[in-house]
């Protein structure tokens, strides 16, 4: 990648505590949540806009059999598609490293926080269970896909539904029950650019960032998931500072997610 004048400016500004779009270093862009964006076909959905980043998250459900080594667990599968329209450098094809990492981190945030108790998805132990798919469809990329995807997944899950079984044991897509949900974890990311910690990075900022740390915090403030990405390094004080900031910020996003779900 060619280092443009823009890249140098971004770094210089951030050293001075400023950003190209005039935000504070820890300030997020405007978040817009449209719950139930998919009217009929999804079993829970949301359209998320975070600045110019835009994505649709949709839940699908199916019948499956538990894995032999986990007969008392249903299935949760998270998948991220970076559609080719979302960025100039995205090409058609199977998910690459970037999409896979986002999917794994979003998935872990949900799994480790116990927001879905997988045993609640079991229909008959060792025989049949629900499979819940969370599909993140990125339509427009301007940075911070991780946080936007996590927020979208949380909204979609809270709106989630499971088709009940009919007499023959098939999914009855005219009758639903709520997806059982416990708590609301929030996953956010802090980035390091030069010597500064920055939040909600744009695509241009991500081009010049040195490293990042994503963490999931539960309502009780406990951390259930961390992921450090990119080549650079963090010292332990920076790790603690990022987690503290994420804990503070998570309350605002938890509130926004709940409001969106209640208003749906």
């Amino acid at each position: 990648m060619v280092i443009s004048i823009n890249d140098k400016n971004i770094k210089k500004l951030i050293e001075k505590g400023e950003r190209l779009d005039d935000r504070e270093l820890d300030e997020f862009r405007e978040l817009n949540i449209e719950p139930n964006f998919i009217h009929e076909t999804a079993d829970g959905s949301a359209m998320i806009e975070l600045g110019d980043t835009k994505m649709v998250v949709g839940i699908s459900t199916d019948l499956d059999s538990p894995y032999p080594d986990a007969p008392d667990s249903g299935m949760l599968i998270t998948n991220v598609e970076l559609t080719p329209m979302a960025a100039p450098h995205y090409e058609p094809g199977p998910p690459g490293d970037e999409a896979t990492e986002i999917a794994r981190v979003v998935d872990r945030g949900i799994r480790e926080s116990g927001v879905i108790d997988l045993s609640d998805l079991v229909i008959e132990e060792g025989e049949s269970c629900y499979a819940v798919f969370i599909d993140v469809h990125v339509l427009d990329y301007d940075g911070n896909l991780m946080d936007a995807a996590s927020i979208g997944a949380a909204v979609a899950l809270l709106l989630g539904r499971l088709p009940v079984l009919d007499e023959d044991g098939n999914l009855d897509r005219d009758n639903y029950k709520d997806l059982p949900i416990n708590g609301l974890p929030v996953t956010l990311t802090g980035s390091k650019i030069g010597s500064k910690l920055v939040y909600d990075t744009t695509a241009d900022e991500e081009d010049v960032r040195d490293t990042r740390l994503t963490a999931t915090v539960k309502e009780d403030g406990k951390v259930v998931n961390m992921q450090k990405g990119e080549p650079g390094t963090l010292d332990s004080e920076e790790v603690v500072e990022i987690i503290e900031t994420i804990r503070e910020k998570s309350e605002y996003f938890r509130k926004r997610i709940r409001e969106a779900v209640e208003g749906a």
Binding site: H39, T41, A42, G58, T83, A86, F133, H137, D140, D142
Partner: protein, 242 residues
């Protein structure tokens, strides 16, 4: 399709969703809905909701695909996993491949490809929610996205699907009409005129007279879509010279 027809799709001149045979569902078009691609558009027809985007003209790789005297139009149609009741695998399918091909063929006649030798113009279609008529709605959206991207064109393409329920031809096939009707005929035209048909497919069991009537009906639908396309472009590019 004829093997699994269903009765009652047309009762007392009304369809299952209450529409008259020649009535379109609610249509909404928005141009310039995405920031990253060069052009984009959202088209909603009832619960069918599709985003199309255009990238280009840009360099075409691998080079052996380049045409010395014109640009290559590439189209990719895909369905989001949550766009149908039973989750759709994101892997490419034979169906999406064929639809991508007929979409490309439907759009090529309007694009002035000769303006951009050796380059590529990429059209991407993402079906977010499907309630029948997705390939035609994708084409309508793609044409808008091409215009939004400022690609030189000879006109706009728009498309709708006509079908046959009981003994009657109907406009804008939706829901169960697609799976259980007597025919599904997607038709794309240039500038809403049946003199320039750029896509025509059919599966079903109908007479040549039905075909003729179906094309008349499709022209009615496409004329309406053409007007809406122009309005949507005017709205997005107001202040411009159109």
């Amino acid at each position: 399709m004829p093997q699994k027809q269903k009765e009652g799709l047309l009762k007392d001149g009304k369809r299952i969703d209450g529409r008259k045979p020649t009535e379109f569902r609610d249509v909404n078009m928005e141009v310039g809905v995405l920031k990253s691609p060069d052009g984009s558009a959202l088209v909603e027809i009832g619960n069918t909701r599709i985003i199309a985007a255009v990238k280009g003209p840009k360099e075409l790789h691998p080079r052996h695909l380049q045409e010395p005297d014109k640009a290559v139009l590439q189209a990719k149609y895909r369905m989001a996993p949550f766009s149908v009741d039973d989750r759709m695998s994101p892997k490419p399918s034979r169906r999406s491949r064929e639809i991508s091909l007929v979409t490309k063929r439907a759009l090529e006649p309007i694009v002035k490809l000769e303006k951009f030798p050796q380059l590529a113009i990429n059209v991407y279609i993402e079906v977010l929610e499907a309630d029948a008529s997705t390939r035609v709605t994708g084409i309508t959206a793609a044409s808008l996205a091409l215009a939004d991207a400022g690609i030189p064109m000879n006109g706009l393409v728009q498309a709708c699907a006509v079908g046959k329920l009981e003994e009657e031809m109907v406009l804008d096939v939706a829901g169960e009409e697609d799976a259980y009707g007597k025919a599904d005929i997607p038709v794309a035209m240039i500038n809403g005129s049946k003199d320039e048909i750029t896509l025509l497919q059919m599966d079903g069991d109908i007479t040549p007279e039905d075909v003729e009537e179906g094309l008349e009906l499709a022209e009615r639908g496409n004329k309406k879509l053409f007007e809406m396309q122009k309005d949507a472009l005017r709205e997005a590019h107001s202040g411009g010279d159109n």
